[in-house]
């Protein structure tokens, strides 16, 4: 291989290795927790479509770049053909991405309709965020659970039941985030927020505040404990009777 005065002897293999590494990025970004609500299932499906599309786009771009690096490295001092554009080919790589994003937008709107609607019936839950704890109350039964320092609240909820969450904040912005629900919503003072979830599998799901709210931000944790409807009603009755959870 001929060496040039400037930058002749570099092996582009390293860049190709990088390309493969980047392929890993896109593939492994799929390590989300198993979706635990019906809404999370819809979000997860959409996510996989975007991820698949992303892998295809990345493969095309990296393929073309890698091919150029290998095939068109300088071999002699001859000047290559001075092509400066092609309307046809540029139209192609304008229109194909345009159609692609319009399709992705259509799927987005469909998913939004499924996950961003409030359904009738079910259980009401009122969540209040404050520095640096959570309070969950069940307005239908008067039960309230409040986290204390070092003791994050356990919020018990029934499975297979629509749950209407009303979220608000008493001080600064917070965000209610349950990774297994693939969902978060900001708690903004003065802006109570409403959303629905429907949990599909019993279990303990860790949750956290996702919007930075000061030095206790990382301590602002909670657990969602999903149980079947009968257990939930028993728990609620116990709490109401013991009165220990009074606000």
């Amino acid at each position: 291989m001929r060496r040039h005065a400037i930058g002749g002897g570099w092996h582009p293999r390293r860049l190709i290795a990088l390309g493969l590494g980047m392929l890993v990025v896109v593939s492994v970004a799929g390590c989300m927790p198993a979706p635990a609500t019906t809404q999370a299932q819809d979000i997860s499906n959409l996510y996989l479509v975007f991820l698949g599309g992303g892998v295809i786009v990345a493969a095309i771009v990296w393929g073309l770049v890698t091919w150029s690096i290998i095939r068109y490295r300088r071999r002699d001092d001859r000047l290559p053909a001075q092509t400066s554009g092609s309307l046809k080919i540029e139209a192609i790589w304008t229109l194909i991405p345009l159609v692609t994003v319009l399709v992705l937008f259509g799927l987005t709107v469909r998913t939004l309709e499924a996950v961003d609607t409030v359904n009738p019936g079910g259980v009401n839950l009122h969540v209040t965020a404050f520095r640096w704890q959570w309070q969950a109350s069940y307005p239908d039964s008067g039960v309230t659970v409040t986290g204390t320092g070092g003791q994050p609240p356990v919020i018990v909820l029934p499975v297979d039941t629509p749950i209407h969450v009303t979220l608000e904040s008493l001080d600064v912005n917070h965000a209610w985030f349950v990774p297994a629900f693939l969902f978060k919503r900001d708690a903004i003072p003065g802006h109570p927020s409403l959303f629905d979830i429907r949990i599909t599998a019993p279990g303990d799901y860790p949750g956290a505040c996702a919007e930075f709210c000061g030095i206790g931000h990382d301590q602002m944790l909670f657990t969602i404990r999903a149980v079947d409807a009968a257990q939930f009603n028993t728990w609620l009755a116990d709490q109401a009777a013991s009165g220990s959870a009074a606000p």
Binding site: V25, A29, F50, Y72, T94, A180, P206
Partner: protein, 553 residues
């Protein structure tokens, strides 16, 4: 016949003292001041990032308190975005744009100097918060109210942050006006708009974006200051104010800002790839229109940072954000087409651009994912977003920024940076980038929130965080060959030729570094590549002369 082949006349340069640097209005020196200061802030911001990564390497509190941690990530973000990535672009614009259009200086040289000093002191004022008793600002670089308000951030550091950011905002507005006027009025004869190099185009479009975007954050900061000191209540719901208003005004600046931080760097890539492919830029006009399209769309996407507030129109901001992928894709494809059937030289500037094509692509793809509100419901405020923004800012802005430094260093200083050290620099950054940010994408998908000083061991995030920290150390180590290359180059005599790379645009038609007035003479400007044309013409003339000689004997 051309300026390129003219013998380099070395007039003994007068000694340049400190006072000359402090009082200069020469765009080339102001450019160097900008670039040097921006890298100074980057080294500080980078050192802070290393502390952050070391703290997160393991669960539990090791290095710094939560309060210090919050100050560190706030100042890291503020420095890197507003005092490094933006001013570095302005630095290149200063050093190169007047040369590329064949001008002797900027339209308003003294205003230009004022812009620089406002920026420098803005950064120092933000950092001075560390010296105050309450510490530096600790509300994130986004400064969300009410956290940044009088009740929750009573420290003076927060006010210093407001003052510093406001100053760099004013600096940006003055600089943008200066670039607009310079590009419109100071072009050399023959330099039509559609003969302007792509870098100059991106500076023009960026200047327009700055004028639209920066006043919004200036107003936001003024309102926050009034809230803090005069009971304004703009962002306090108990006084009828609204915390969401802060976010609208901030992101109305903040998202165009993202493109202010990338368009000039796309411009650099559009300069470097054609030179080292020995081909003209593919689809020049399409790239100009793509740049304008990105700028236009970027004014209508701000609320994609607010999808989880429940307060914005999700489909509208989703489609606007998704559409930006189209002109951005055009850029990537046109750069690849420029290399297609070219004759590629893998110099260090070119390697940075090739690295960008691989790495920035993943940032673009994850950006499309985040533009879909349901996906954002999961990813917002997690390490997925952290990985995405560093993916585009390191794999885009910084890779291209380094390409620009290696590419134009000979023009700015008369000295060439060592290629071997440069290759080590590229390799370390590519590997360091992958090690640092691939784990962060995974952590984000698993649900690790951003801006947390600690995480429980029960989360199982320890191994990935450790890998990410090792990656950050590789990035830091990768700066050493670069700093060494700069140090060595500056100790050598200035002997770089006018056109060390075989360039296309006018900056290569004058000496390295150029004289104070930039050009003794200009080659004819009849296309996008006047210096290329002159080189070909000179070559043809030489061959003709040789043929005559051979025929005559």
């Amino acid at each position: 016949m051309t300026a390129i082949d003219a013998p380099v006349t070395t007039v003994a340069a007068p000694r340049v003292g400190l006072l000359d640097w402090l009082t200069t209005t020469d765009h080339k020196r102001i450019g160097i001041l900008y670039i040097t200061s921006a890298f100074g802030f980057a080294l500080i911001g980078g050192a802070i990032a290393e502390i952050i990564r070391l703290e997160l390497a393991q669960p539990g509190q090791q290095l710094v308190s939560a309060s210090t941690y919050d100050q560190l990530f706030t100042v890291h973000g503020t420095l890197m975005l507003l005092f490094f990535a933006g001013p570095l672009a302005i630095g290149f614009a200063n050093a190169i744009t007047p040369l590329q259009i064949g001008a002797a200086d900027m339209a308003f040289p003294r205003l230009n100097a004022l812009s620089f000093w406002l920026f420098l002191f803005g950064g120092l004022i933000v950092m001075s918060g560390f010296l105050t008793t309450g510490g530096a600002a600790a509300a994130g670089w986004t400064g969300y109210a009410p956290l940044s308000g009088p009740t929750y951030s009573p420290n003076v550091g927060m006010d210093l942050w407001i003052a510093g950011v406001a100053l760099v905002g004013v600096s940006g507005i003055l600089g943008a006006l200066n670039f607009l006027v310079t590009i419109y009025t100071r072009r050399a004869p023959g330099m039509r708009m559609f003969r302007m190099p792509m870098f100059t185009w991106t500076i023009l479009v960026t200047a327009v974006l700055i004028l639209f975007a920066f006043p919004s954050v200036t107003a936001d900061l003024a309102m926050l200051f009034i809230d803090r000191h005069f009971g304004g209540g703009f962002f306090d719901p108990s006084q009828g104010g609204d915390p969401v208003l802060w976010q609208h005004l901030f992101w109305f600046f903040g998202h165009p800002e993202v493109y202010i931080l990338i368009l000039p760097y796309f411009g650099i890539v559009s300069e470097v790839i054609p030179v080292f492919s020995s081909k003209p830029l593919f689809g020049y006009r399409a790239l100009v229109f793509a740049t304008i399209a990105i700028a236009g769309l970027s004014m209508g996407v701000w609320a994609h940072h607010m999808f989880t507030t429940g307060e914005v129109d999700l489909p509208f901001f989703s489609i606007m954000s998704l559409l930006i992928a189209v002109p951005t894709g055009i850029k990537i494809f046109n750069w690849t087409a420029t290399m297609w059937r070219g004759s590629l030289r893998f110099t260090v500037p070119m390697l940075w651009c090739l690295g960008l094509l691989y790495v920035f692509t993943t940032g673009g793809i994850t950006g499309v994912m985040l533009a879909s509100p349901p996906i954002d419901f999961q990813a917002q405020d997690t390490y997925f977003v952290v990985a995405h923004l560093h993916n585009v800012l390191i794999g885009g802005t910084m890779f291209a920024g380094f390409a620009g430094v290696y590419f134009w260093f000979p023009k700015m200083t008369g000295r060439t940076l060592d290629e071997r050290l440069g290759r080590i620099h590229v390799a370390a950054w590519v590997i360091g980038f992958a090690l640092t940010f691939i784990p962060q994408y995974i952590l984000g998908a698993e649900g690790m929130p951003r801006r947390i000083a600690d995480y429980p061991a029960s989360t199982g995030w320890e191994a990935l965080n450790m890998v990410s920290t090792v990656g950050a150390l590789v990035l830091a180590a990768g700066m050493l060959p670069f700093l060494l290359a700069v140090y060595r180059a500056l100790r050598r005599p200035a002997d770089a030729p006018s056109d060390p790379w075989g360039g296309n645009s006018l900056e290569w038609a004058t000496t390295s570094p150029p004289p104070h007035h930039n050009f003794d003479r200009l080659p004819p400007i009849r296309s996008l590549r006047p210096v290329f044309d002159a080189r070909i013409a000179a070559e043809a003339e030489r061959r003709e002369a040789e043929r005559h000689e051979a025929g005559g004997s």
